[in-house]
């Protein structure tokens, strides 16, 4: 039997809330179960992948939420197959593929529909 397909959808921007960092924890657990894991960034979720993030504070105190987004770049090493980004979400926020910190696959609503249809489970954050 082939591995079950799990899709994790992230819809919130980083740092103003803990959604991204806690979604990432769930994704890493999913990957450790040897599932067929992929991630979809939707709406403000595309900000998670913005390159050149800098949480360092001038007085070297800790930021409210630590800079965790570099882990997205390492997900490939944990067996995560693909990072999908909804192209309209990216364009609406003045961003392009070259603004992102990791290689992604741009998808439109039509392909998102097909992507979700082929999953065994979908987690939305």
């Amino acid at each position: 039997m082939s591995a079950q397909k799990y899709l994790y959808v992230i819809t919130k921007a980083p740092y103003s809330n803990a959604t991204g960092i806690e979604a990432l924890d769930a994704i890493l657990i999913g990957a450790s179960f040897e599932l067929d894991v992929s991630v979809l960034f939707l709406h403000d979720g595309v900000f998670q992948l913005k390159a050149n993030q800098n949480c360092a504070l001038s007085d070297s105190s800790l930021p409210a939420i630590k800079q965790f987004t570099k882990t997205y770049k390492a997900l490939e090493d944990f067996g995560v197959d693909e990072l999908y980004v909804q192209e309209q979400s990216l364009a609406a926020r003045g961003l392009g593929e070259s603004d992102l910190l990791a290689p992604v696959k741009l998808v439109n609503n039509q392909s998102i529909k097909a992507l979700i249809a082929e999953q065994d489970q979908v987690f939305t954050f």
Partner: protein, 136 residues
Amino acid sequence: MNFNILVTGALYSSQSAYSALRFCRAAAAAGHSISQVFFYQDGVTQANQYSLPLDDEFDAVSSWVEFSEQTSTPLVVCVSAGERRGLMSEEQVLENHLGAHSAVGSNGSLHSRFTVAGLGALHQASLESERMVTFK
């Protein structure tokens, strides 16, 4: 059908508990089963035994407990998400040397009907159920 429920919305400030409970009751009444309800992110606050809503307000914690008692559905709180937000059993309070100097007191803030587990428990349950439904 067997459902795995994920609740991520906060107690009182979100409608997640209300919607999730209505879904769970309707599913149970229709002969479906709920393998477990897993509380993650701000959803862990729904296990706080010290929640005190007004008399004419929805009591999410008591409603979860009642549903769990009636249907034998396990209520599971993510251990790390809970600890970050002060949701702990008495054992966790003692293990972390909190107790008397802590706002949660040595009784722990976690209602005794809820258990704690890692995110592995969420994934294990989802593997064994046909559908997972998330309430944000």
